[in-house]
């Protein structure tokens, strides 16, 4: 009784602290707010969401049952299916879902101010993102750890399964393109960054050889060596950049780097995995967890003020970083930090095969996503502690603010953020770069923000350039790993699809079939990366909304599945738990899709394409294009992006139709029609987890 009272008082305190912190963030207009309030408010809301809503879903909606065997126990093979301690599995799951998305989205969305983004990241994760991850994990766990595509096929039929596969492949291609472009934009004309990122390739190979031939399986030794060499490479990179002979060897333009990453993707994804992919994957996971923890500590130690206003005038849709109004484009842009369709693939991947007991799914699935959302909040913080003038100088396309610091400072000062050319030049100098202009893509902005926070905590001004390149390297490392692993996954999907048309192309052991599928996959994402560097209107600013729409559509598909599953379980009374986020995601993505297809300038892809192709036909050239050929390129790329958007819309509408049909059938049937693995009883007192 006493204990219960104490717990209640504890939760009340968390609630009061959260409300107070959120109040400080939301109401303190006109003067700057410390980022500590923002982060504290987020943490309190996560705890409350986990304790109350997460528990409600676990106990009432899904009715997790610890007397039921999980696949990790029934199929334990010591390899894929391994019952695992819940904290360890939480770490594994978080490392698998955390990637570039939650870092980039909030940085771009910061152009509307920190408040709209904060509200969506927090509300979105509680009602949509964490619910999706948790429920897909549950569905997969009850079906021997099957993948999302297989579950859709089981519960919604083979046509729906096929649609989900095509949709997943299309979204994969777009995400690879966006990630590739982020690296290219971050490394363009930056010999220091290019050198350190290039150095990771031979480094990973040395680690790979070490772990295979010299000391088999000794990952700890190889990783420790890797981290030390990595830090040395960052330190040495400064000398390389300054060196008259070496510097130019690592200085490339964005189109050159685009080709480099395309060739890299093709070659790396055909190398044996132990040589490059696996060692770098370990290294990047290592860094990923380390950086997230360090950034959280850094924010609390330094307590920097948020310099971005709570809300900027760009909520009206005239912002330079991405075009479109707050609704629906803020939601599309933030994507992963609030709800990410990609997590449905991870939650139905390795994680469900490792769950020791059903009740752990809440901590791993719901809790893991809350942590991802926290990463998004920190990325938003890092972007908002920058001087807004610097933020816009880095993230606005050349078409808007020009190519010189003088022009840029003039344009940005007109927007109301006073900035001098000297301030822009000084920021670039502080981080050891020649220029920070037009570096949209999130990575450099985040790196500058992180460098300012980290150097205030450790090392001062002298280490700012080091921290900047550390942050760039950290992002490039896991992006290159994602490009490599994603190209492989894309290749398997393409082979699956091609195999249904012509069987020999589906043969995964055939070298020729491998090469064909790899080249197809790489050329699809590679096209967007290259165009992003040569198209005067292209770049992360253009591709990111496409990615956001695709990602949120996949989340919509996953939530449609969860809704159907709930109905088939005859839990209709809780259907609002998935129906509310499903409806919201469909409204957002379909509106965004509709606007991207049909809206007038500057939002609609077809409107832009029409404008440029008409002008090209008339022989006139519109800035920032310089030639008629460039005009035609702009027109073609916008037609292409518009078509892909329309495809995404068609996919999700088709899935919605399937979901409604299946649900209506299930509603009419008085019995549950769910297709789960057979119930096997277990003793909840026995702990099967081998890792303690």
């Amino acid at each position: 009784m006493n204990n219960k009272l104490l717990t209640s008082v504890g939760w009340l305190l968390v609630a009061v602290l959260g409300a107070f912190a959120l109040g400080a963030v939301a109401l303190n207009r006109g003067e700057t707010v410390s980022s500590v309030w923002l982060v504290t408010a987020a943490l309190c809301i996560y705890f409350i969401g986990y304790r109350f809503y997460g528990k409600f879903i676990a106990e009432r909606v899904l009715q997790l049952d610890d007397t039921r065997m999980t696949p990790a126990v029934t199929r334990n093979d010591g390899l894929d299916y391994v019952p695992t301690n819940k904290w360890v599995l939480y770490g594994h799951h978080f490392a698998a879902i955390a990637g570039g998305g939650p870092l980039v989205g909030p940085v771009l969305a910061a152009q509307m101010g920190y408040l709209p983004s904060t509200i969506w990241i927090l509300a979105g994760v509680i009602i949509a993102g964490a619910v999706q991850d948790f429920m897909v994990l549950f569905c997969s766990m009850r079906r021997d750890g099957r993948s999302l595509g297989e579950i859709v096929k089981m519960e919604m039929g083979p046509v729906a399964g096929g649609i989900a596969l095509v949709g997943t492949l299309a979204i994969m291609i777009i995400i690879l393109a966006a990630l590739g472009l982020i690296v290219v934009k971050a490394l363009g004309e930056s010999p220091w960054g290019t050198f350190t990122v290039a150095a990771t390739i031979p480094l990973a190979m040395v680690m790979g050889v070490y772990m295979r031939y010299i000391r088999p399986g000794k990952i700890g030794e190889a990783s420790a060596f890797g981290v030390v060499v990595l830090l040395l490479a960052i330190w040495y990179g400064e000398r390389v950049a300054a060196d008259a002979a070496l510097g130019p060897l690592f200085t490339y333009t964005a189109p050159q780097l685009a080709w480099a990453i395309i060739i890299y993707g093709a070659v790396a994804s055909m190398l044996p995995v132990w040589l490059l992919l696996a060692p770098r994957d370990y290294l990047s996971t290592f860094l990923k967890i380390g950086v997230v923890v360090a950034l959280a500590l850094g924010i609390y130690v330094v307590a920097p003020d948020l310099k971005m206003p709570a809300v900027t005038r760009f909520i009206d849709g005239t912002g330079p970083v991405f075009s479109g109004t707050l609704f629906p484009f803020l939601f599309i842009t933030i994507a992963c930090g609030a709800v990410s369709g990609f997590h449905a693939l991870i939650s139905s991947g390795t994680t469900p095969k490792m769950i020791e007991r059903e009740s752990h799914a809440r901590f791993v699935g719901y809790g893991g996503m809350l942590t991802e959302s926290f990463v998004a909040i920190m990325a938003l913080t890092a972007a908002c502690v920058l001087d807004p003038g610097i933020y816009f100088a880095m993230n606005s396309p050349a078409a808007v603010i020009g190519n010189t610091v003088e022009k840029a400072s003039q344009v940005i000062s007109q927007w109301g953020w006073a900035i001098t050319p000297e301030m822009i030049t000084q920021t670039a100098k502080d981080i050891g770069e020649h220029s920070i202009l037009n570096r949209a893509g999130g990575a450099p902005t985040l790196a500058v923000g992180m460098a300012q926070i980290m150097s205030a905590a450790v090392g001062g001004q002298a280490l700012q350039a080091f921290w900047y390149h550390f942050a760039i390297l950290f992002e490039a490392l896991f992006i290159l790993t994602a490009v490599d692993a994603g190209t492989r996954a894309g290749r398997f999907m393409i082979q699956d699809l091609l195999g249904t048309v012509y069987a020999p192309l589906g043969e995964t052991k055939s070298v020729l079939a491998n090469v064909v599928a790899t080249v197809l996959c790489v050329s699809m994402w590679g096209y967007f990366v290259y165009q992003g560097t040569v198209d005067p209107l292209g770049g992360v600013n253009t591709i990111w909304p496409l990615f956001g729409i695709g990602n949120q559509m996949l989340a919509g598909i996953a939530l449609l599945l969860c809704t159907t599953v709930l109905i088939k379980m005859k839990r209709e009374r809780y259907i609002w738990v998935t129906l509310v986020p499903t409806a919201w995601l469909l409204i957002c993505t379909l509106t965004a899709g509709w606007q991207k297809v049909f809206a007038p300038l500057p939002v609609g892809f077809f409107a832009i394409a029409q404008k440029y192709s008409d002008a090209a036909a008339a022989g006139t050239v519109i800035a920032p294009a310089k030639t008629v050929a460039e005009m035609q390129r702009v027109a073609f790329n916008n037609y292409l992006c518009g078509t892909i958007t329309a495809l995404f819309v068609a996919l999700v509408v088709a899935m919605a139709v399937f979901a409604i049909r299946m649900s209506l059938q299930a509603v009419r049937n008085p019995n549950p029609t769910i297709r789960e693995s057979a119930y096997q009883t277990r003793d909840p007192e026995v702990d099967y987890a081998t890792a303690h």
Binding site: L79, L277, F342, T690
Partner: protein, 83 residues
């Protein structure tokens, strides 16, 4: 055919008993194993223990063989990465 756990095959360990009575070396080994699991690296000990339980008649792979096999497997048809 995948193995099913029979009543007699259950590990003797029950909840609560696991944390107590461990030496420092055992704790370190557990920590290392946890870390490998988090970063998704294969773990030979887990495999070996399990293999001896379910196929005592089949000789297990050596550490070197297992490592090659497991790495290849993890990335061969694994699902796509996250954004």
């Amino acid at each position: 055919m995948r193995p099913r756990i029979e009543e007699s095959e259950r590990p003797a360990m029950t909840r609560g008993a696991s944390a107590a009575g461990k030496t420092l070396a055992e704790r370190l080994a557990a920590l290392r194993q946890a870390w490998r699991r988090i970063i998704g690296a294969p773990d030979y000990q887990t495999y070996l223990t399990r293999h001896r339980q379910i196929h005592p008649e089949v000789p297990p792979m050596s550490e070197k063989e297992f490592f090659r096999f497991a790495i290849e497997r993890r990335y061969s048809r694994a699902g796509p990465r996250c954004c």
